[in-house]
Symmetry: C2
Subunit: 499 residues, 2 copies
């Protein structure tokens, strides 16, 4: 095959992949937001067929030849086209080792197990979900062994979400987090602050919806390109930079839960929305890894959204929407309220200081279950033991324990570390950003655009064009260093709690 023909075929393949991916993306968002409950059956049929089409497009000898042809002509191929072939090759390598029946069966398994998990969580019933998790673990282990039987299976899974991540690096990373943060967590817990009176609300959901719209404007999310929906579990979806969807979940008794969901998902959205136009509709339009994606969402959520400076514009819009509830509240009081720290049960609601230890617990469990050292039946006990050991928390039931997260139910084993890595990346990016941007001065004025411009220049614009090993050190001013992250947390919470 000659190069020009291969490039032509790559264009065709990406056109198909975009269209099918677009359909998957919208069906998923629609299914989780506004679709009637019984729609799952027809959606499953549609998604399973679309998945089959995607598989058939990618997994055939011609695609292999197309990709090889381009990859063998690096010098004659422009950077974008070459990288598009490279990224598609990664999916090709993952999929072509897998017989189609297994691929389809796996799609159906995750579809079903996800539905079962929802029920199991509601009923707090691990036994309902356990047989599905067993199948999911077996499938992920099998895929990993097909890919490279010589490597530890969990390293192969980690690599799918965070290119290059391996246990040999993550073990010391999490060890540092635990060693450095545990003493602070204990001291902070000893100085527990009461929940301030104003937080009692009530916070009517109709007002919270208006508040979300204002928050999105403050964060810089253009409503022409980004819509907000409501789901049980917030997420970001959408097929291209002009069509991003974020979701949130409103709790009448607490406006901050939804607020931080909006800011967090808004961070994911900004990443996707700021990718270069010429990368749209190609395999390079999304984020480069999940760790980098989470670095952006958690940057806006925590580094900006829970900063002292952000309390000025935040209090302003809070008072606009909730004048009664926020009457007399000062920026200082707000800053303290949004940074109350206390070991707790639910990862997504955890404060910034304790958050990454929730992640570490999942990392330890996943390592053990993939290595075959932890039976599915024993996960609840081990989960509860670790929560007690690491965070000093008693888990009252599986709903608030090992059934709280959706990830495993969709086969996402190996994803969790991305959250902690992303949080750490973000702090190192902040340190670089501060060298040229008056971060806190501009945030205090309610203008996040210099922050987003810096992130766009250094991260967002590239989508998946730059490899993470090139992108990250440049944006972080060096390799990952857990101490930069723990120093940031120790300083922030020592000040907040007068340690």
């Amino acid at each position: 095959m000659i190069l020009s023909e291969a490039i032509e075929k790559l264009n065709e393949l990406e056109k198909a992949a975009y269209a099918l991916g677009h359909a998957q993306s919208i069906l998923f968002v629609d299914g989780d937001t506004v679709a009637p409950k019984n729609s799952w059956k027809g959606r499953g049929k549609a998604l399973s067929y679309v998945g089959e089409l995607m598989y058939r497009q990618l997994v055939n000898p011609e695609t292999g030849e197309v990709l090889e042809t381009i990859l063998q002509h690096k010098d004659e191929t422009d950077e974008v086209t070459f990288r598009r072939a490279e990224v598609m090759k990664e999916s090709y390598d993952d999929l072509h080792i897998l017989p189609m029946e297994e691929f389809v069966a796996y799609q159906e398994l995750t579809n079903e197990s996800s539905a079962v998990w929802h029920d199991a969580k509601e009923k707090s019933d691990w036994n309902m979900f356990a047989p599905y998790l067993e199948k999911l673990i077996a499938a992920r282990r099998r895929f990993a062994s097909l890919k490279d039987p010589a490597k530890p299976a969990y390293d192969i899974l980690l690599d799918q979400y965070e290119k290059g991540a391996v246990m040999a690096d993550l073990d010391p990373f999490f060890r540092t987090l635990r060693e450095e943060l545990s003493p602070v967590i204990r001291e902070v817990a000893a100085r527990e602050k009461p929940v301030p009176a104003f937080m009692k609300g009530p916070w009517p959901i109709a007002q919270q919806r208006i508040f979300s719209d204002k928050l999105m404007v403050l964060e810089g999310l253009d409503p022409l390109n980004c819509a907000i929906g409501e789901t049980e579990h917030p997420f970001t979806g959408g097929p291209n930079k002009w069509d991003i969807r974020i979701t949130t979940h409103y709790h009448e008794e607490d406006p901050f839960s939804s607020m931080y969901s909006v800011i967090h998902e808004g961070g994911h959205a900004l990443y996707e929305m700021d990718v270069r136009d010429d990368l749209q509709f190609t395999g390079l339009a999304g984020g480069v890894t999940m760790g980098v994606h989470e670095s952006q969402s958690r940057f806006y959520e925590n580094i900006i959204g829970r900063s002292r400076a952000f309390c000025a514009p935040l209090l302003k819009i809070l008072k606009e929407v909730f004048p009664e509830q926020m009457k007399g509240v000062t920026e200082e009081e707000l800053y303290s309220a949004i940074n109350l720290s206390k070991p707790s049960l639910i990862r997504t609601e955890a404060d910034e200081l304790t958050y990454s230890l929730h992640v570490m617990i999942r990392y330890e469990l996943e390592k053990a279950m993939i290595a075959g050292n932890l039976k599915v039946a024993d996960i609840p006990g081990e989960w509860n033991r670790l929560y007690k050991d690491v965070l000093g928390v008693d888990v009252p039931d599986n709903r608030r324990g090992c059934l709280q997260d959706s990830h495993w139910s969709t086969g996402y084993i190996g994803y969790f570390p991305s959250y902690a890595l992303g949080s750490a990346y973000g702090v190192q990016m902040l340190r670089q950003m501060e060298k040229t941007v008056d971060v806190w001065g501009t945030v205090a004025k309610g203008d996040l655009s210099p922050v987003t411009t810096w992130l766009t220049e250094n991260i967002h614009q590239y989508g998946a064009l730059k490899k993470p090993q090139d992108l990250l050190p440049a944006a972080m001013g060096g390799p990952l260093d857990a101490a930069v992250y723990t120093d940031y947390l120790k300083k922030k919470f020592s000040e907040l709690y007068g340690l």
Copy 2:
């Protein structure tokens, strides 16, 4: 090809058609309800590719052979399978005469012209839309001539929406409507009633949303299978009986506009939701023709929804949701208010008496434009002349004139007559239903289920299994008879206006 192989292939083809059709359906609903404005570009790319896939599945020699094989073995094939092949053959016949480039270009044309029409309507600017309509007319004429150059093109278009409909039947049908109804319309107009004071509202949209939910329950729409959204132009969509979407549009100054949209679209929804389970995911799952579909929507909207009996349960939920606005209003006052009749500008807002003459005007215009007797540039003048002549109404601008309907912008030329035919079918069905069902007694009690059960038994359950020429006379007690429809209207409005 042997029969069993052909049936196997038909199953595969329908599986693909279902999945791709499901994606199209959800992308369309999502795009019109919650998607951000700039999403059109990516959606266009996705839909164009999905359309191409559908075309390629259907238009190939093997599909022709599959369908021929089944159609030649009627005796050895069960009724459902045979009819599935027959219905697919209709699509095949429409499409295989069309080169793929023309098919794709037409998809793109309707996508673009639909967007242009939205703008043109807002700006009341016919010249913006005219070049697109010219292309659409040329395309529809070409497709008709490819299908059968010997037949009048408009007859071929009519047949696509209402199987068997031809001008030779529709001309006298509409002539009867005009001759019989015009004198009544004139007399009613001479006795114009004032709009009752209570209708001034205001009618906050938040309350109207709650009202919609109650209306849906009253109509018998299960929210587990049917969701409601908000769009500029109400419609019914969704891919199967367990996943139906209706939409409405709220006007703060008038609750009845949205109310009748909900009831009308709910009628379409009930038809789809009551089709037999074993026909789901096949080509027989939808309604059999657009005329039959409109007969159901307009049955619930008008025959039930604007009946004296329905005012009892309707007033009850109106008073629950709008206690202030509806204070002291009696059933008689409500009945009079929802049946105010007056020649007006907008078809979708027209009263039951004048409605079908709005349709007739479009029918006359379409006949002329497809026959080449009416230039696109002359449509506004001719539209306005007909509105004056037929309804005695002066059209102030094109927004409220020839740009009001979306149909032409999506290539739907030949659809309009279905509304009038459907209205007439509905009255003939009512006359049959009344023989065995205490329609008004049960409706007055707020129980629509005997009505829906009758319609399910006689119409809904079959989907497209029975041919319209078999289905309709059985449900209507004979062939179409315009006089049954005009008698119903004359009697109702004579009583209402004391003629």
